[in-house]
């Protein structure tokens, strides 16, 4: 075979093969771990937050190529945003930034959104003073 065919587009394949922000943050300010009941995938996102802004985001994912790519892209997109901005993060941003996902794989991007929001909720729980200012994460 001289040509290469891919199951996903080049951006998704790149994020699967060379995931950004893979790993854990030591002394994370917020950690979220969620699972997809539909397929069994599990995603964990940890955040470092300073002065109301996401300084660092890392992920670990048990799941398919598009789940790994979605979590890689979500952590890329979210870095530098304020908590308020992050709370309104939507999975569609991940889908768009990845240049699209197959319809059956859209739920992978939803999982990334949920993991991020779970991590934010964890942070807010630990910092009630933020909760007073910010809208609910879900």
């Amino acid at each position: 075979m001289s040509e290469t065919y891919t199951l996903y587009n080049q951006t998704v394949m790149d994020h699967f093969q060379n995931p950004r922000n893979m790993g854990d943050i030591k002394d994370a300010d917020g950690i979220g771990e969620v699972g997809a009941a539909a397929c069994g995938d599990i995603m964990k996102i940890s955040l470092k937050i300073k002065n109301g802004r996401i300084e660092d985001a890392r992920f670990k994912t048990f799941g398919c190529g598009s789940a790994i790519a979605s979590s890689s892209m979500a952590t890329e997109l979210i870095k530098g945003r304020t908590i308020e901005e992050a709370m309104s993060f939507s999975n569609q941003e991940v889908v768009d930034a990845l240049g699209g996902l197959p319809p059956v794989k859209i739920h992978c991007s939803v999982l990334a959104e949920e993991a991020l929001k779970a991590a934010l909720e964890d942070y807010v729980k630990k910092h009630p003073e933020v909760a007073a200012k910010a809208p609910a994460a879900v």
């Binding site: 199951l7 009941a37 397929c39 069994g40 995938d41 599990i42 048990f62 398919c64 059956v104």
Partner: protein, 421 residues
């Protein structure tokens, strides 16, 4: 890049001599076998020759018991629906094993919507069907028993001869799906006591586009595709002549080369399994150990703490073609029903990979696969929260329990808010 094809369950490359045998039937001998002139009579002879060759592969008494369809799925549909409709007045009960191929399972489900009932005979943890369970499921309304010869997913060889004795005693037609065994293991329809058998030559170096249904006179069937009187009135539609001709020669060669092909893949199967087992921890073989209870072409593996599609993609990037029964790979987001039927833990079903060997694989290729796969597993585990949680004692291993931490399934259910299916 190096290419290693380990998905022979899905397709095999056509043999060059089979291609040569097919070639005249595209342009030169293009006739329709139903025609009564020279062009038709010539290809009619060619079909007869293919039928005889295929009858020999499965030790059928007569080539008149061989019917050509478009593929194994159509053969399975004809076996199930054809027998059910032909015997509707006798009874509307079917007996099938729980691990039949989707072409059987979904045909049965289709009939259930029309008033048939089915008993699905369970399998043990190795995927084996017990003949006494089949005997116990048969009622006076049963018109068909269907148990495959070799499981398409986990390679388990079923005790079809014993089941054939049960069905013969009870006078119920017996259908054996031989899709995963024909061409690789001896299939003797008479010794099996089978009344119907289906398979496809594309699994053993023949072309796609032709399926075989063997049927003897003890099983009444009606056609499910209506039109002309091709295939003895059992399957209407113009025959795919080149594919049938190719399937015939591929069958003859498969019969002749079966001992050498089988021993070659059996040695590679052993090398692959032992190599992987030695290199990768928390790896499980699904189905029986390589040996008399497992087809020599198949390895079905579950690698704990990582998911199957990621393994498949990474292997593909390294030039290694495999399949997977993980939910992420299926369009329905469900794990393979075979893995569910053997009671495999959901976490292990998710990490599933299926490798199927062929006659052209080499020891060197196998060593490359072992090396590459162990590297991929290490990379994916480093990305997996499950691996980290296993190492820190939050969850336990199913393959080799340490006694600390909760099960993966409990953990998955707690983070997803719903139990994993």
């Amino acid at each position: 890049m190096r290419h290693v094809f380990l998905d022979h369950q899905s397709a095999t490359p056509l043999l060059p001599e089979v291609f040569e045998e097919m070639r005249p039937f595209f342009m030169e001998a293009f006739g329709n076998p139903s025609s009564l002139h020279q062009h038709g009579l010539r290809v009619r002879d060619a079909l007869k020759k293919a039928r005889v060759r295929i009858a020999a592969l499965i030790n059928a008494e007569s080539d008149e018991e061989i019917f050509f369809t478009s593929d194994g799925t159509e053969s399975a549909n004809l076996a199930i629906k054809g027998v059910a409709y032909a015997n509707e007045r006798r009874g509307k009960h079917l007996v099938v094993s729980a691990t039949e191929h989707p072409s059987v399972m979904n045909s049965v489900e289709f009939l259930e919507k029309q008033g048939w009932t089915t008993t699905r005979v369970p399998v043990d943890s190795q995927g084996r069907v017990k003949p006494e369970h089949v005997a116990g499921a048969i009622t006076d309304k049963t018109v068909l028993v269907a148990v495959h010869h070799v499981n398409h997913d986990i390679g388990t060889i079923q005790p079809v001869q014993e089941i054939g004795r049960v069905t013969a005693e009870k006078g119920v037609p017996f259908y054996v799906d031989c899709e995963a065994s024909a061409g690789w293991l001896p299939v003797d329809v008479q010794a099996m006591g089978a009344n119907l058998v289906s398979f496809s030559p594309h699994r053993y170096y023949g072309p796609k586009g032709v399926g075989v249904l063997y049927r003897n006179r003890k099983a009444r069937i009606v056609s499910i595709i209506h039109g002309g009187v091709q295939e003895g009135g059992r399957r209407a539609g113009t025959e795919n002549v080149p594919a049938i001709v190719g399937g015939g020669l591929a069958s003859e060669i498969a019969l002749r080369e079966m001992p050498s092909r089988a021993s070659h893949v059996a040695a590679l199967q052993k090398r692959l399994w032992e190599g992987l087992k030695a290199r990768i921890q928390y790896l499980k073989l699904n189905g029986p150990e390589p040996g008399p209870e497992r087809v020599p072409t198949n390895l079905n593996l579950s690698t704990e703490f990582i998911e199957g599609e990621g393994q498949l993609l990474s292997l593909d990037i390294s030039g290694i073609a495999v399949a997977s029964g993980s939910s992420c790979v299926s369009k329905s987001l469900k794990i393979s029903h075979v893995l569910a039927a053997i009671g495999l833990d959901h976490a292990l079903a998710q990490g599933n990979i299926i490798m199927t060997l062929g006659k052209d694989n080499t020891e060197e290729e196998i060593d490359y696969v072992i090396e590459t796969f162990s590297r991929i597993v290490t990379k994916l585990r480093a990305m997996s929260p499950m691996w980290e949680e296993f190492e820190s004692g939050v969850i336990d291993s199913v393959v080799r329990p340490t006694g600390r931490g909760k099960s993966f399934s409990d953990h998955a259910a707690s983070v997803s808010g719903k139990p994993a299916h």
